[in-house]
Amino acid sequence: MRLRFEPWGAWAKLDQEVDTPFGMRAAIVGLDRDEVRALGLDGAEAWTSDAPPTPPIEVHVAVTSQCGAGCEGCYLDAKPDGAHVPHDDLMKTFDALERSGVFTVAFGGGEPTLRDDIGELAIQAKRRGITPVVTTSGIGLTAAKVERLRELAQVNVSYDGVGDDYEKVRGFDGANAAERAIQMLKAAGIKVGVNVVLTQGTFENLSATIARAKELGACEAQLLRYKPAGRAASLDYLAKRLRPEQVNAFSKTLRELVAEHCDTDFSPTAGLASFSIRVDCALVPFFSADPELAGDPDRLTRFGIFGCEAGGALAAVRSDGLVAPCSFAGPTETRGDAIDDHDVDKTLSAWRAYAAAPLEPCASCTLRHVCRGGCKIVSSFVDHAHGPDPECPRVRAHRS
C-alpha cells in the first residue's frame, strides 16, 4: 500500500482491491497517529504543529479542452475547436503528482477519449503509482477507443437519464450514445460507472435512471449536483437546480435508491452486491436536512464522506496548466507541474482557511467538519460570495 503522512495521521491507498461484503473494492484508509504507530511508523515532522498542509490525494486533470458534445451546462465551456494539452506538459504534471503522493488522477476535459494517447497517459500515471480514472460522454466511442481505455481503473460515462431526461440536462439527446458506450465498456471487461447530474427535471426519475444503468452493466452511479460554472453559469442554472423540496428530500431519496439498487444487508443471492452509489462533495450539505445523519457526523467521517475538499484533499489542473481548487473554480497562480508547492499558493490557502473556519450557520453545524461549508461555486454564483452554500437546508432556514 502507498501511505502518506498527514497532520492527523496518514492516508493509505491499498494496492489490491479488498474483498468486502459489497464485493471487491478499492480502498483508501485514513489512520490516526496511534494506528500509524501500530504499523511501526512515525510521521516525524509531518506531525509537528507547524507542518505545512499536505497536497491533495485526488487531482482532476483536464487533458483537453476539445469536445463536440456541446452540452448546455458544460462547466468548462469545452468546444469542438479546443486543444489537447501537450503530452510533455502532462508528464511534468504527473511527475509533480508523484512527488506529492497523490493517489488518484481523474482525466477530464473536454472529451478525454478524443486523445489517441489516453491509454498511454493511464500507463504513465500508473508507473508513478497513481490510479487513473476517466469520465467520457461516450459519444463517438469505437472499439479501438475502448481498447485505449483498458488501462484505466474505471471509466464513468455521463448518463443523466432515460428518455428525454438526458436532453433536459444537456440540451441534446445523447442517451443512446451513452447507453451504447456503457455496454461496450462492460463487454470489454472494463469497470464502468455512470455520472448522473441532478436537476429538478430529472430528480424524480433517478431510480429509473439507475436501474437502466445497472441493466446496461454499470457498477456504480455517481450523483452530481448541477453547478453554475462554465456554460451553466447563467440564469438557466436557477431553472435547472433542484427545488428546495427536492433538496430536503434528497437524503430520503438516497436511502430509497440504496435500498432498491444496492445490497446493504449483504445477501449475495440478491445479486445486488456489485453496485454502489456515490454522491459528490456538493451534495453533502443536503444531509443537514436528515436528522439521523446530521446527528451522527462520525458515521460520515468513518466512511470517508468528503464535502468541499477544494484546495484540500482535492485539486484540479486546468487545460491551461494552472491549478484550481476544484474543477469548477477559477485558476490559481500555481502550475500543475508545481502542485507539490500547493501549500504556498495564496488562493488554495484561502480556500482551506475558509473551510477550517466557516461563517454561521456552518460554524455551528454538526456536519461542519465533513461538509466544510458547502459548495463555494454555488455560493459565488448565487450570493456573489465565498460563503455558506445558499441551497443548503440549514443555511436556508438560518436566512429565513
Binding site: M1, A26, V29, V133
Partner: protein
C-alpha cells in the same frame, strides 16, 4: 480508522460511496475487518514529501532554511 471505498471515476467532483452509510453495524464491522486484514497483507511504500520545517528569519537576518535546520 476511516475507509473510503472505490476508485471514484469522476473528473468534476470528489465523490464518496454512500451505500456504506446505511449498512447494519454487523456489515459495517465486516467492512472494517476486511480492510484491516487486507492492510496486513500489503507492504508499505511511503509517498509524498515532507518539507523541512522552516522558521521565519529574524529581523535583519537573511538565512536559508538549511541554516535554520542547523540551528535547531
Amino acid at each position: 480508522m476511516k475507509v473510503r471505498l472505490g476508485h471514484g471515476g469522476n473528473c468534476s467532483s470528489i465523490g464518496a460511496v454512500v451505500d456504506t452509510l446505511f449498512v447494519s453495524a454487523v456489515v459495517s464491522t465486516m467492512i472494517f475487518a476486511a480492510v484491516a486484514a487486507a492492510m496486513t497483507r500489503e507492504s508499505i511504500t511511503i509517498v509524498g514529501k515532507t518539507k523541512p520545517i522552516s522558521t521565519p528569519p529574524k529581523t535583519g537576518e537573511a538565512k536559508s532554511d538549511h541554516a535554520d535546520e542547523a540551528e535547531t
